[in-house]
C-alpha cells in the first residue's frame, strides 16, 4: 500500500499535464450549461456605466498585454461595447508597451460601428514612466500629452483636465490600479471601475470596500458575468465550463495528494512505533 501511495505521489508530471489538457478541452466540445452567478462587484461596474449620461466622457486606461489578454480582453470588449451603447466619448490610454495594439482594435471596433475618430473617441500615444504618467495625468493632463497638437483632435481640445471625465476605467494586471486611485481618484473623485486579472482580486478588494473603486470586473468569470449583464455573450461565457472542470481537477489533485501524504505519514509513524517496541 505504501509503495503504491509513494508511486502515486511521484507520478510522471506529463500524465498530469495531459489530464489538464483533456479536462479543459472536453467542455469546449460538450458544453455543460452550468449556471453563472453575478457578483456584487461586477454588477456595481455595470451599474456605474449604466448610470452614465448620454455622451459621457470616459477615460479607458489599459495595461493589457499578451500575458493577461485571456482575462482582460473579453472584459474590455464587453465594457467598450457597453460604453458604445451609451454613446460615450472614449479616450483610450495605453499605459503598457503592448497596450497600443489592443487599443487599435477597440478603435477599429468603434469606427466599424459608425463612431468618428477624433470626435467620439481618440487614442493617446503610449508613454513610458508608469506611476509618473499617472502623477502627470493627475497634475495636468494636457501637458502630460504635450505631443498632441492643438487642433489635432476635436475631442482632446474640448477637455481641460481629468476633472472633465465622468468615468475612469482602468484595465490591468497589477500596479496601475494603485497608481490610479492614488493619483487620480484621490484628487478628482471620479467614479472608477477596474478590470483586473483574478490574481489581484484579493489585493484590490479592500479598495472596493472603501468605495475607492466603484466596481471591479475580475478574471474570466467577471468577463462572463459582464457579457451576460450587458447582453453581449462572447468568448468568456463559453470558457466558463472549462474553467469549472479545471477547478474540480485541481481540487481533486489537492485532496488526493493530501490523502496519500497523510496515509503514508501515518504508516511511517506506525512503523516507527512498532520498531521502537
Amino acid at each position: 500500500m505504501d509503495d503504491f501511495l509513494t508511486r502515486m505521489q511521484n507520478i510522471d508530471r506529463r500524465i498530469i499535464y495531459t489530464v489538464v489538457f483533456i479536462v479543459l478541452a472536453v467542455p469546449m466540445f460538450k458544453p455543460m450549461g452550468l449556471p453563472l452567478k453575478i457578483t456584487r462587484e461586477t454588477k456595481a461596474s455595470y451599474d456605474a456605466i449604466e448610470a452614465l449620461p448620454e455622451g459621457a466622457l470616459v477615460m479607458f486606461a489599459t495595461a493589457n498585454a499578451p500575458g493577461t489578454q485571456a482575462e482582460l480582453e473579453p472584459q474590455s470588449i464587453a465594457v467598450v461595447k457597453h460604453l458604445m451603447r451609451k454613446n460615450a466619448k472614449i479616450v483610450f490610454n495605453p499605459v503598457a508597451a503592448e497596450s497600443p495594439r489592443y487599443c487599435d482594435r477597440y478603435r477599429e471596433m468603434m469606427a466599424a460601428a459608425g463612431f468618428e475618430e477624433g470626435v467620439d473617441f481618440i487614442q493617446l500615444p503610449y508613454q513610458a514612466g508608469g506611476e509618473t504618467l499617472y502623477v502627470a495625468m493627475g497634475t495636468d493632463l494636457k501637458s502630460a500629452y504635450v505631443m498632441i497638437q492643438p487642433g489635432q483632435y476635436e475631442l482632446w481640445d474640448s477637455i481641460d483636465g481629468m476633472q472633465d471625465f465622468d468615468l475612469f476605467v482602468d484595465c490591468g494586471g497589477g500596479e496601475t490600479q494603485r497608481w490610479a486611485i492614488g493619483h487620480i481618484e484621490a484628487k478628482y473623485h471620479i467614479p472608477h471601475i477596474t478590470l483586473i486579472t483574478a490574481v489581484i482580486l484579493a489585493v484590490v478588494q479592500p479598495y472596493f470596500t472603501s468605495r475607492q473603486f466603484s466596481g471591479i470586473v475580475s478574471g474570466l468569470n467577471g468577463a462572463a458575468e459582464y457579457e451576460v449583464l450587458a447582453g453581449f455573450p462572447g468568448l468568456a461565457a463559453s470558457g466558463m465550463d472549462a474553467q469549472s472542470l479545471g477547478h474540480l481537477w485541481v481540487i481533486f489533485t489537492i485532496v488526493l495528494g493530501n490523502v496519500a501524504y497523510f496515509i503514508t505519514k501515518a504508516g511511517k509513524a506506525a512503523k516507527a512505533r512498532g520498531g521502537g517496541d
Binding site: T132, G219, Q243, G246
Partner: protein
C-alpha cells in the same frame, strides 16, 4: 495562401512550439523561446524610441528647451551598455529613483494608508460582518507590530492577537491561491480556444 490564414498557422506553430516544452526541452521550443525574447525586447525598445521621439526630441526641436536636461540624462543612461563608462548612468538613475520614491510616498500616504484608515474608522458597527471586519483589520495590523517584548504580559497579549491575524491572513492567502489558479487556467483555456476555433475550426 491568404495572409490571414498564414498568420493563424504561424500563431498555432508558436503556441505548439512553446507547449512542446511540457514534454521536454527541444530545439523547436528553444527556437520559439529565443524568438519570443527577441521580439519582446524589440517591441519594448520600439515603444521607447517612439516615445523618446514624440515626448522629448520633437518638442525640444520645436522650442521646448527645458527638455535638454532630460535628453542629456537619457543619453547618459545609455552608457550602461559600456562597462568603462557605466558609472555615468548612475546620475540619471539616482534622479529617477528619487522622483519615483517621492511619488510612491505620496501614494502610500493618501490612498493606501489615510483613506484605508478613514474607511475602517468610519465603519458603522451595526452588523456582525462590520464588527468582524474591524476586528480582523486590527488583528492583522497587530501581527506586524514588532516593538513589544512578547515575554511581558502586554507584549504576549499583542502577540496572541497577532496569531489570530495570522490565521485570517491564511484565509486571505487561500483566496489569493484560488484566484491565481483560476487566472492561470483562463490563460490555457484562451490558447486552447484559439487552437480549436481559429486554427482547426472544430468549434463554432
Amino acid at each position: 495562401m491568404d495572409l490571414a490564414v498564414l498568420g493563424v498557422w504561424i500563431a498555432a506553430f508558436c503556441t505548439l512550439a512553446v507547449y512542446s516544452f511540457l514534454y521536454g526541452d527541444n530545439p523547436v521550443f528553444k527556437f520559439a523561446e529565443h524568438a519570443f525574447v527577441g521580439l519582446a525586447a524589440a517591441h519594448v525598445a520600439v515603444m521607447g524610441i517612439e516615445n523618446m521621439r514624440n515626448r522629448a526630441w520633437e518638442p525640444f526641436v520645436a522650442g521646448q528647451w527645458w527638455l535638454l536636461g532630460a535628453l542629456i540624462g537619457g543619453v547618459m543612461l545609455l552608457t550602461r551598455w559600456f562597462p568603462s563608462v557605466r558609472w555615468i548612468s548612475r546620475i540619471p538613475l539616482g534622479f529617477m529613483m528619487g522622483v519615483a520614491a517621492g511619488m510612491a510616498a505620496r501614494r502610500a500616504i493618501e490612498s493606501e494608508f489615510w483613506k484605508q484608515i478613514i474607511s475602517t474608522a468610519g465603519m458603522k458597527l451595526d452588523t456582525l460582518d462590520n464588527v468582524l471586519y474591524l476586528v480582523i483589520v486590527l488583528c492583522t495590523l497587530s501581527y506586524f507590530l514588532f516593538a513589544f517584548n512578547d515575554r511581558t504580559r502586554f507584549g504576549g497579549a499583542i502577540k496572541s492577537v497577532g496569531v489570530v491575524g495570522q490565521y485570517v491572513m491564511m484565509i486571505a492567502f487561500g483566496a489569493s491561491l484560488g484566484a491565481t489558479i483560476m487566472a492561470r487556467l483562463s490563460l490555457v483555456i484562451a490558447r486552447l480556444d484559439f487552437l480549436f476555433r481559429n486554427w482547426l475550426h472544430l468549434l463554432d
